[in-house]
Amino acid sequence: MTTTLLEVRNLEKKFAAKSAWFKPKQYVHAVNGVNLQLAERETIGIVGESGCGKSTTGRCLLRLIEPSSGEVIFQGKDITTLSKREIKNIRKDMQMVFQDPMASMNPKLSIREILSEPLLAHKILRSEHEQLLSETMRLVGLPEEHLSRFPHEMSGGQRQRIGIARAIILRPKIVILDEPVSALDVSVQSQIINLLQDLQEELGLSYIFISHDLGVVEHIAHRVGVMYLGEMVEVAEKERLFEKPLHPYTRALISATPKTDPDEVKERIILKGEIPSPSNPPTGCKFHPRCAFTQDICKAIKPELREVEGRKVACHMV
């Protein structure tokens, strides 16, 4: 974990909300100034509630959604300024695995056709197709006969293996995993997680692992970023974060995950209220209406992400 492969600076995405005539345009701030660094062979987990902008962040990195501002630097180039043609080359090195493997595959195409799509799109020599296909099927632990099947003929876990196969068949450097296991049942989840770890070792991949499941993230990630309403509130090494979360929101999240030991005494922090609407976010610290430690300063001034105890936290009270 030495060289930085991908760096995200102040990534922002605003969606235009319902616009009426003669009224100023309203925006929903889905992602608001996210900073990230991803090293080679590293897995960074992004966690947060639904609607906090973690999936939007992932899509912005690939420019599936055009970011409103900010920089995404990959191999020394700012992706956000590249033309459509250049972005295609980037996509060879950066692939994505989606949450619902059934929805992300065309039901009318066979597995062979689905897996060939990246090869055709990036003009890989025809003579190499067969070898890549069979090698990738072996890597994801599926028999080659499955190539002639259709997505609906497979189980959820097998389908997600195909989703992963499609992402790694071009041997990318970075794979963005958008809730790759949330649609699977728990026993299959662990198989897929193990598979991802094996692939990382074998192919030297870097992962951006987007999830709402802290348990899964704790297992796979090296570093974890916690998002709340489009902002990173805490970024830390996994061990530190789970041992001693600093941000009140992180603490609440971690206290909500079930513990394996029933006798362990645990403090349960229950958040008040709902997640505020991103179109009309609270002033100052966005978390203040739900925070147990709110002071006047929280309502007025937005806390910046700063180094505390070897990690980054955005809270006045820490």
Binding site: D100, A103, L109, P118, L120, P143, F150, S155
Partner: protein, 298 residues
């Protein structure tokens, strides 16, 4: 389960199906549908009649029988003769050719341009979609036959122009249906996945959109054949389509209407022919819709 080599894939419980299975599923449903079978059979016969009309027609459609003008159906002329002594049955049989060619060609025009516009609107969206669809809305506000009339008026009356006019006039309706079907595909995960892979737009349209609208395309192409037959006949009826002496059902109908009271057979048989063929096409279209597009049936 830490090492890849030791990992054993779970055997799927699903039995293996050949790639053709999906298609044969629909075919099987089709073969069980009595309506569809009857219609296909009937239309097949009509098609055969069209192909072999020179063999099947008892007379030359343009041959004049001076001794039997406006003769009622008889043994010699099964469906009677018209005002200048031509055999109605022969003209009807030759008319199948004209009707089928014109309507199929018209539908081909509709099919290609309509599908293209529909898919582009759905895929590109934004102002392209807005502009194209508003144009389609304006065209839809005109009854398609009036639109066809206007096009023929510009191009001049002939069978080819009628064909083009009918084809163009049906594009708006067709494009809208395809757009509606394709727009749900745009928001599906696999189109996003395709984009994330870096596939080209044309690839996405061909490989992701088209296979998912084939059923709907099939259904509405069939239904639009019925519309095309009617529109062509209507244009010919008012003298802007097939020109005499071409044996076309609409033209025959128009020639026969002047003799409605004296010679009922002149207008009745072409009228019946149009009705029955269009009915069969529409019935088949409905049957296909039940199979390929079950959501929109009833």
């Amino acid at each position: 389960m830490r090492k890849l080599e030791t990992y054993k894939p779970i055997q799927a419980r699903v039995t293996y199906k050949s790639p053709l299975k999906i298609k044969s599923d629909s075919l099987q449903k089709l073969s069980r549908d009595k309506r569809a079978i009857v219609c296909i059979f009937f239309l097949f016969i009509v098609f055969i009649i069209g192909i072999f009309s020179p063999l099947l027609a008892p007379h030359n459609p343009e041959e004049l029988f001076y001794e039997s003008i406006l003769e009622a159906p008889s043994k010699e002329h099964l469906l009677g003769t018209d005002a200048i002594g031509r055999d109605v049955l022969s003209r009807l049989i030759y008319g199948v050719r004209v009707t089928l060619t014109v309507s199929l060609m018209a539908v081909t025009i509709t099919f290609f341009i309509g599908t293209l516009i529909g898919l582009i609107c759905a895929y590109v969206g934004g102002w392209v979609d807005n502009v194209l669809m508003r144009i389609m809305d304006i065209l839809l506000a005109l009854p398609s036959i009036i639109l066809a009339l206007a096009i023929v008026a510009v191009l001049g009356p002939s069978l080819t122009n009628a064909m083009i006019a009918v084809g163009i006039a049906s594009i708006p309706g067709f494009a809208r249906i395809i757009r509606g079907a394709a727009i749900t595909i745009k928001s599906s995960g696999f189109v996003e996945a395709s984009r994330s892979i870096g596939s080209s737009h044309s690839w996405i349209l061909r490989r992701q959109f088209l296979p998912n609208v084939t059923g709907i395309l099939l259904v509405y192409t069939t239904l639009f054949i019925g519309v095309a037959i009617l529109d062509t006949a209507a244009l010919s009826f008012i003298g802007l389509g097939a020109q005499p002496p071409t044996p076309e059902w609409g033209t025959m109908l128009s020639e026969g209407k002047n003799y409605m009271l004296d010679a009922w057979w002149l207008a009745t048989f072409p009228g019946l022919a149009i009705t029955i063929v269009v009915f069969a096409v529409n019935f088949l279209g409905d049957a296909l819709r039940d199979i390929f597009d079950p959501k929109s049936s009833r």
